[in-house]
Symmetry: C2
Subunit: 648 residues, 2 copies
């Protein structure tokens, strides 16, 4: 033990040799870890791409199909618009990539939307960005898992009716893995990610070669479920095109992941992270364009029964053979990895916001495996509810998705643009750098401001398009929820602030010494437990009143007689309770005593608390003492003393 | 206030003027009643018959049909056995009636099987009889409600698929009525009971007249569901006949009701109750015989789709007109009344057994409406579960029924026989009457002993027949459950006994005065709440140790600094917790302190208990103090002092 003495206060410090015991949770999530066990390894670009890009890359599994789906209301002929729209989306991706590349260099410690907005725009924008991102992570899980299930169902249609169940089981599985705490060991991520990329490139390259050779046919028995519903074709309007575009932009979700995880990269971290971002953008664009192009050429149709990826793979490979199965399984796995990314991001972000006091503090505590267990469980529960409510349908979930993503994109880049603006004013002396600020003068500030500004403006435009065109389809839910969530965060913060202020010692004058201890001891009988409590009460004060609430007159007579014998002369008050209530008459009595007391008196309620031997025995006794305690806790200047008596 | 002083102990007595407030329960079950409000009215024979006989009389709605059902496996020709069997059942009823008539006179205060067995046979037989009766009451509810639903479904076949739901709703409805507390006002019971009797007698008399006149035909479109299943007919064996007889004996359930409720009758209570019993037996026999006889003549068939009563009524009245509907509805209502009887009996019996300490004591407490609420709810829940498990099928429930009834009949009458035997020995001086015993010499003791003995023997025979013939069909469940329940009751009693002994003051030597109060005060921070607790702790003892479990080093440093400023020099122990656990390191520390303490020391754990303003705010704080308290309650010689601090 380590002893210090300062200003007359002795402080002992010691590390407990306590080691957590084994329990059932160990088998599920592994042995507890010490705080000092937190991993500090870094990874290179190759692994970095695998760890951070599954969310972005996996979106090629649903984005083209959702684009097709919107166009299908104008008939199959409208599909020729898909490729031009995909090209526009890729341009948008290019702008975003440049913009985020700048963020990565400006925030080498990690530049998520919440942090960037908090630093540069203030609390409210930060909370909006944070809430948007939290919702987005939840939807990432719901959409990715639903799409993963859809891939599975395409290969094994017999599973169609079990979609929701399979989805929920997948979420539970990923939750458990994350409760164990994944050491982002890279290898574990690299294998499925690169397997997916290899299978995707094989599919599109074989497809393109066969198309060039003229041997690529069209989809055999294309799924007609969606097209068959559109009996009356709608005209191709600007609204429809914008709506299709909106659906396609879901391909861009997950692009921000790298900017959150810069610290995981080997040094020079920012440079490595930035290059990884660019590589990811190139891969994503190429796959998006190729899949959209081939999808149009083979006559692929949007469907709830079979995904576009499945139609493409079986047409390219001419069968449901080994290559088809490999493509489908790699897609399913990458989608699960995407969900897994959200399981890393959501708890981390919620812990960050919780540390700032906007989310219940418990979200900032790490569990036995050093992970933010509460955030992980919360995410799994809400995502599962979404999967259940939306019947694991990607098309129904998509209109809720992307609003959050683009809102956080817009705010984060607006924050960056503002940052460059301030940076530019440093030289002119118009901006004073506060202590602790990371803001420095950057000679390219104007160019960088314009780049981030362009990024912000274009994502704002997409956001608006998305919100308008998808409003009735579901975006309204997010638009409605967002202010509610932000308000809730503010209310929570207010609560913590008020509490901190009320408990603060800043203007605290200690109250005078307690002058008198009055003791009230409610009893249900006179027995060893009661006398143990009395023995204890006597050492505190001589002003003891024992109170019995009488429900049964015979019982009361016995208690009075016993008290005369054993009560050491302390006064007994019998409260008659005609309505057979226990708590209420007692409270009434305590109220009266309170009314009589002096300012520096304290009323002590000594409760002889019977502790049954087993949980079973618990049912044999009314837990009145517990109820009494709960009620009394709400009263001022009352102290509750529980004198337990155990029976062996 | 009423003050007494005895042996130096001042006893104050007073009646609280507390009046219970309004809450939502008032709307559902009515305003709370005072203990003094308990009703004390008595009723005559006419109303007595209505109040106590619905259970017995309503059994004519299912007993003949169940008898037919067993015979049907030997084909429709076997139905000629139904009437002879019904006659045997009526003979049995006659024996039972005589036997119970004697019980009524011997136990004017109420002679249920539990009481009679307890008085005359001892604890174990009483518990067996009590358990059997409790099970039986549950089954009365399940069978009566299921049969009531079957009547409804016969008239309105469209309701067939909602049987279970209708049954459960009916149970819930009767439960609510009983939670309000039915004043057994007679009139409420008389109308439906006499309506049922009138409709039954109209049906059978019209039926008999039309039969005599040769105009009574056979059932049009009889329900073929059951008969159609018996593709291979079985021979008529003795086993089959006994099995059919067993099913028919369910008509005798409920006969004991009057003997439980003697005190409700006008004086001379025993005489009035006895005569009511005889009237009831005559009505029951006549209806049972008439329905069985007519059922055979019209070619009625047992069925899950339409009850025998329904087939009889529509054949007798030649249509599904007003008289048919009246008959069916009166039958449905009387069956609900029968279930209601069980709702009066079950809670009363469980309260009686609870008062003896064999069932958790809570069952003996009366709720706000002066009824034994816990028993009522328990009955409703278990009966509903039975209805759900058995899909509201009377035929599937019947094999579980009657085992309990006949077991309690047997024990109760065996008890009476034993009582007369003892009575006979009084004169010879071989039996000494204990103080408080109601046993008196009776000159007719031999005759009475033989009567009750015959009753006991014949019901034992029926019980054996029932148990054997219905064993595989479901009686095994009851036979298996009975010893389990009895064992559970004995275990509960043992628990109470051990507890009473351990708490008893009989051989109690008070422990010496407490010599030293050591205080341990765990804190999570230094704020107004902590200082309030410290201010309080200081008045108890100067031996105060403040303990902080350190999870975050920076946080701990702040606390140490603040404590130096505000801690009044009391020592602070910092426990480092590498596994981020709070409770365990603290307990380890308390263990060490306990190991050091002297026999008459007490360790006081002063817990600054933060009380959030609202349930909402509860979620913003970890309730570590609650967990700590729960764990500490299990330790000896530790007192927990909660110093609440509320924030306004």
């Amino acid at each position: 033990m380590n002893i210090e003495e300062k200003n007359g206060t002795v402080v002992f410090k010691r590390t407990t040799d306590y080691k957590p015991g084994k329990d059932w949770r160990n088998y599920l999530i592994g042995r507890p870890l010490q705080t000092a066990d937190a991993p500090h390894q870094t990874i290179g670009k190759l692994l970095g791409l695998a760890v951070f890009s599954s969310d972005a890359l996996s979106s090629v599994a649903y984005a083209p199909q959702e684009l097709f789906l919107v166009l299908s209301v104008a008939g199959a002929t409208a599909f020729h618009l898909a490729l031009p729209l995909a090209i526009v989306i890729c341009l948008l991706l290019a702008i975003l990539t440049l913009s985020y590349e700048q963020t990565i260099h400006a925030y080498p410690g990690g530049g998520g939307a919440y942090i960037v907005a908090r630093d540069n725009l203030g609390k409210l924008p930060a909370l909006i960005a944070g809430s948007a991102l939290l919702m987005d992570y939840i939807l990432t899980v719901a959409v990715s898992i639903s799409s993963g299930v859809a891939q599975l169902v395409s290969a094994y249609p017999i599973l169609f009716n079990q979609r929701v169940l399979i989805g929920v089981v997948m979420v539970a599985f990923i939750m458990l893995i994350n409760m164990r705490g994944v050491k982002e060991s890279g290898i574990l991520f690299a294998i499925p990610t690169y397997f997916f990329l290899v299978m995707m490139y094989i599919t599109v390259i074989v497809g393109l070669i066969r198309l060039a050779g003229g041997t690529l046919g069209t989809v055999v028995n294309p799924p007609m479920d969606v097209l068959a519903q559109n009996t009356i074709l709608q005209p191709i309007t600007l609204f429809l095109i914008l709506k299709a575009f909106s659906s396609g932009t879901t391909a861009l979700t997950g692009v921000e992941a790298i900017s959150n995880g810069i610290t995981a990269f080997k040094k020079p971290a920012s440079k490595n992270a930035g290059q990884t971002l660019i590589i990811m953008a190139i891969i994503l664009s190429s796959l998006l364009l190729a899949i959209t192009f081939l999808g149009t050429r083979i006559g692929g149709l949007p469907s709830e029964d079979e995904t576009l990826i499945s139609q493409l793979a079986r047409t390219v490979f001419n069968s449901r053979g080994i290559l088809y199965i490999a493509t489908i399984s790699s897609t399913t796995v990458i989608l699960m990895m995407a969900a897994n990314t959200a399981f890393a991001d959501f708890p981390r972000l919620s812990a960050l916001i919780a540390a700032d006091g906007y989310i219940p503090r418990q979200f900032a505590y790490r569990g036995s495996r050093l992970v933010y267990s509460r955030g992980i469980v919360a995410l799994a529960v809400v995502a599962s509810l979404l999967i259940i409510s939306f019947q694991a349908s990607v098309s129904k979930l998509i209109p809720l998705y992307a609003v959050g993503v683009f809102l956080s994109f817009t705010l984060s880049q607006a924050g960056m643009a503002h940052r460059w603006f301030k940076s530019g004013k440093i030289k002119a002396g118009q901006e004073i750098i506060e202590r602790g600020s990371t803001l420095i003068f950057d000679s390219h500030w104007l160019f960088k401001m314009l780049t981030n500004g362009l990024g912000s403006a274009s994502t704002l435009l997409v956001l608006s398009i998305f919100a308008v065109t998808k409003f009735t389809a579901g975006a309204w839910i997010v638009i409605l929820l967002l202010p509610i969530i932000v308000t809730a965060l503010l209310v929570i913060h207010k609560n913590y602030e008020v509490l901190a202020k009320e408990l603060s010692l800043e203007h605290f004058t200690p109250r005078g010494r307690i002058t008198h201890q009055r003791i009230i001891m409610p009893i249900g009988g006179v027995h060893q437990g009661t006398l143990t409590a009395l023995r204890y009460a006597k050492t505190l004060s001589d002003d003891i009143t024992v109170v019995h609430v009488s429900i049964d007159e015979k019982e009361t007579q016995k208690i009075v007689e016993k008290w005369e014998l054993w009560g050491d002369g302390y006064r007994l008050v019998v409260l008659d309770s005609p309505y057979r209530l226990f708590i209420e008459p007692l409270l009434e009595y305590i109220d009266e005593m309170e009314a009589q007391k002096q300012p520096n008196d304290v009323i002590n309620i000594v409760v002889p608390q019977f502790v049954p031997r087993s949980w079973f025995a618990n049912f044999l006794h009314t837990r009145t003492a517990d109820t009494l305690r709960r009620v009394l806790l709400n009263r001022k200047d009352i102290v509750i003393l529980e004198v337990p008596y155990q029976v062996d």
